[in-house]
Amino acid sequence: METMIALRLPRDAASVPLIRQMLDGTLRSLGVDEQIRDDIELMLSEACSNVVRHAQPSDDYTVSVTVYDDLCVIKVIDTGGGFDAAAVREPSPGSEHGRGLQIMRALADDVRFTNRRENGAVVCLEKKLRFAPGAAGPHFMTT
């Protein structure tokens, strides 16, 4: 079984803590382990911050989160021009930028960037879930 939420958000900095908090609440109620929730909050924030910062000229963007058994798949979709993840270089210790991608790659089990011609860009992040003992989530998933 799968469960899914999708939200359309304004391309506004305040949308990032909003979606982060909503997703954390949802995963907590499913009983997802705290360490995994922290990692998901951070990788989601990085993907959304990138969209708010760079995805001109989109006015809004969409976040969808699907839980398939013990796999969480997050898609952040905008209508901006997309970007080339391969062209982003590793930051040097003193540089200010470039750590968002580094963090997403370190925390997610899989990260994919897709540029859709005239349809913006999709960042797809996958994370394997762990549940706290006695959690509600696995029961929903197996009925």
Binding site: L18, R20, S49, G94
Partner: protein, 111 residues
């Protein structure tokens, strides 16, 4: 109409500043240091000190924008000839500093 997130219970960034000894400033951050709040760190008065100690142990959340604001603060402090050190941090912030190699930039206390 209120925007949806105005009614949500978001954790703001709190900045507490103390000067326990002449030449030393202590900056304690708590709450969320993220894309939405990182700019609040840029206007801190760090001129005229020899030591800037930053306490990150109260942070509930930090992201790459928050880390970038700390790098900018470190650069501003270094420009005045002073030294910025991270004096306290959570295990999560420590693992994030290691992941992004920022533990080499900031003097961080041993685990």
């Amino acid at each position: 109409m209120d925007r949806l997130w105005d009614v949500l219970d978001k954790t703001p960034l709190r900045i507490e500043i103390a000067s326990p000894a002449p030449g030393t400033i202590q900056i304690a951050l708590s709450g969320d240091l993220d894309f939405d709040t990182a700019a609040e760190l840029t206007s801190l008065p760090v001129d005229g000190y020899d030591r800037v100690d930053v306490d990150l142990s109260g942070l509930a959340f930090i992201d790459s924008s928050g880390l970038a604001s700390l790098v900018r603060l470190q650069q501003a402090v270094a420009k005045t000839g002073a030294v910025l050190r991270v004096v306290a941090l959570t295990p999560y912030v420590r693992s994030l500093m290691r992941m992004t190699a920022l533990d080499r930039l900031f003097g961080i206390p041993p685990a």
